[in-house]
Symmetry: C2
Subunit: 492 residues, 2 copies
């Protein structure tokens, strides 16, 4: 378990098994150094293409970016490179399968980017990327154009120097991650055989900070619903009728206020069914994670941490389920005042789920709660919104996690930390469901890269570190894979 | 107290004092019958002008309507007819002051109208008014073009037949009632002498139903404020941070839910200061008013009446103060879902006030409540909105009320009911403040005329009834005025 924390004790196990000794891929690493300015040019070139998947007017740019990725995969030496049509934004596939007896690793990434509004907040035009003060600056330089280029460049380093890879690889670079990967399930089903693999790595991900690597071993799931409170057929005059009929905003406010108990747990019967207790092992992980409530709350402009009683901030974010109102509207919203009692008011709710909560069950108990807790004289309606993902937790001790830990230790110079994330990446659960593999996030963005926001940036140092880390992880997977195979043989 | 209910006993006093015997203004009434089709044409002509005061692109139409009214006042025989500029929508003034020794009555109305959207819901184009099935149909035919024409036509009937009026009259027909009469206070101050009068009637008002006349002796006042809850500097990712900081929508919902106690009284300290108790006299008025909760709730599409415990619907609407949320917004409001915790959420609140609540005091206790009841880790801000009117209650037994009762009894054939209204008409309080007179609402719309809504309409029968009622009320004021003067003389 090199580079990971052993179960139970919570302390780092520094013993290194003899079969896991690092082989040095020096030639590919030298190639990376040599080609540094070309690789930098790759990112500038790709980030110039405004491949915004959510805006139909950029469909041509999305197409252009997919072609660019197709060309880059071929140039690196991948084979069978092909564009897989989805009906909307295409995905790009490529493979190299000549490492006989070695595992096959799928590498996932996406070439589409977020929109750029508000444009006036950008210090540089978002699609005229530059390198400045140690950062690439522009839309997509981190998420995920910088990310997807690293494994391609690492692969090229092997193929152009030692003429082979230590493992077999497949690439799936999609173009609709930023719109929730709606056609990804169908694509995974349709090309199941082509995409089959032993392990998967996501080039879309991040590290803890510039000095500290980490491996996220869990993500929260999510469901989203809309509830509407209606009390009268149409808007009424607030003077003429005010005080004599239920006001739907008051009713909805009462409903929302009733969603939590005073200790801030969710007051919905059955909501906590199947929630796993936080283990001592989890607590040990969290204790190691560099985090301070004071620093965090100051940076958010929050008056303080606030959440379920009896839990720390990291526990609340990573291993406790939540129910938040993400939007509300009803009645008059313009300047000044319009004296009405509105006929209805609407709230959008999103729950974040943790292992082993079941999204379907949560939707059921939510709907039942809405039915049973309608405020007086209020018709409540319940509507599903298209956002549903299972919580995701991977085993701590998988072969790609161990390989990732080894690679991160080599590039960071210290032991990576295991942690979790509060967000949701649908592809993770989809890969498990359709391809039967867990996906290890192996990306090199940092939390302050402003992804999805103006002034997205990516550290030149992290772009370099990521390329090197991919060289190392290819080798580490091969080493661990061979060792595992040897062990299996001995045991026969 | 002819036509009114005597104090205390709650039953109608049918005794008629000898000095109040009705003089019959038969010639003017005959004139009205004779001119019926011309008067109908007046309304069609005026209602063709799209004088929407809230839309700048209709400024020319507002101007055109003011000119039309100016011409019509002259045609009727009024003198000193002039347009009084306000800087925006002008008011039209005219007078006839030759009834020596008689009181001077100001007649108030407005020629501007509400916008017409949504246009697709109109059965006839709103500015191509027609007469159909016993109704005038078009924007403004009730509110207030039909209303303002009645006293003009009644006045013309006197001046064209008996060549004089029994009383002195002044007209002030404004053009910005539908935008809250923002320049009316300045206009009343500037022309205080020109506008001075003994009594005032509003041609903007309504009756209870086609068979039953009524006099509104009270209106609620109003204040409006905006409260904003902020918990973090900018929107956060609901997955990454959800459950660890206060959500401003949850906080605002909790704040709103805390505005009322379980018995639905307003939970703000000092809110009920100076609220007058409902008297037996009020209760007797309300008991006479034709109203049924079943019919009303069905027509509103409400599941039932809902309000402050221990009060009836009419009491809740007319003599109890209320606090309603008229609008709320925060976070994501588009289609589907955006997974954020918003940084802030906003609600617009409007309180309706009853005698003797003081708007300034209510704003003060509201602001204090917001300061003292901010939910945990929430910054609450408080902002005044430009809507503030004192509650209005006039004495039951004023000379114009008695005259109105007499006139209504003559046209309806039964005793008018005293009632109150839940809404607010700023002009009422402004006339009292600046001209020192109470204003008796003497209009002939009905509650189902769809004012401020698509398919506004006005009954041909009520337009006729209103003209006749104005002929009667002019005479009644003269009769009651002479009798009062005679009584005063005797007492000297």
């Amino acid at each position: 378990m090199d580079g990971l924390h052993c179960r139970g004790c919570g302390r780092h196990n520094t013993a290194r098994a003899p079969e896991e000794v690092q082989k040095s891929p020096q030639q590919p690493l030298d190639y990376l150094t040599e080609k540094q300015s070309d690789f930098s040019a790759d990112l500038i070139e790709l980030a110039r293409i405004p491949s915004i998947s959510s805006l139909p007017e950029h469909a041509g740019d999305v197409e252009k970016a997919s072609k660019w990725v197709e060309g880059r995969l071929k140039l690196a030496g991948l084979e069978d490179v092909t564009v897989l049509e989805t009906g909307t934004q295409p995905a790009v596939f490529g493979q190299w399968l000549h490492a006989s007896g070695q595992p096959t690793v799928m590498i996932y990434g996406h070439y589409d980017v977020q929109p750029v509004d508000p444009l006036e907040l950008w210090a540089v035009p978002p699609f005229e990327p530059v390198v400045k003060d140690g950062f690439y600056r522009g839309r997509g330089v981190d998420d995920d154009k910088g990310g997807l280029l690293q494994p391609i460049q690492a692969l090229e380093a092997y193929l152009k120097t030692v003429r082979s890879l230590p493992i077999n690889v497949k690439f799936l670079i999609e173009g609709q991650e930023e719109v929730g990967s709606p056609q990804l399930p169908a694509l995974l089903r349709k090309h199941k055989k082509l995409l089959s693999c032993d392990y998967a790595l996501s080039a879309d991900g991040s590290q803890i900070n510039e000095q500290q690597g980490g491996i996220a071993i869990g993500l929260r799931g999510a469901v989203a619903v809309e509830v509407e409170a209606q009390t009268v057929d149409s808007d009424l005059h607030s003077g003429v009728k005010g005080g004599s009929v239920q006001n739907p905003i008051n009713a909805l406010a009462q409903f929302i206020a009733g969603l939590h108990l005073p200790n801030r747990t969710v007051a919905i019967e059955g909501f906590y069914d199947n929630v796993r207790d936080i283990t001592e092992e989890d607590k040990a992980d969290f204790a190691r994670f560099p985090y301070s409530d004071d620093v965090e709350m100051k940076s958010l402009g929050a008056l303080g941490p606030f959440g379920e009683e009896g839990y720390t901030t990291l526990e609340r974010r990573w291993l406790r389920p939540t129910l938040d109102v993400v939007g509300i509207y009803g009645g008059f919203q313009g300047e000044g005042i319009k004296t009405i009692i509105p006929s209805k008011a609407t709230a959008k709710l999103s729950a974040r789920l943790v292992p082993d909560q079941d999204p379907e069950h949560i939707l059921k108990v939510l709907e039942r709660h809405v039915e049973q807790h309608a405020p007086p004289f209020t018709k409540m309606t319940f509507k599903l919104l298209g956002f549903r993902a299972a919580p995701y937790a991977m085993p701590r001790d998988t072969l790609p996690n161990r390989a990732a830990a080894k690679a991160l230790e080599l590039v960071f110079g210290n032991t990576p930390l295991l942690y979790r994330e509060g967000g949701t990446i649908p592809a993770m659960a989809l890969f498990r469901e359709h391809l039967g593999v867990d996906m290890t996030a192996f990306g090199f963005g940092l939390p302050d890269d402003n992804i999805h926001a103006p002034n997205e940036r990516y550290r030149v140092s992290m772009f370099k570190k990521g390329r090197e880390a991919y060289v190392h992880i290819f080798q580490a997977i091969a080493d661990l894979g061979s060792a595992a195979a040897a062990r299996a043989k001995e045991e026969l």
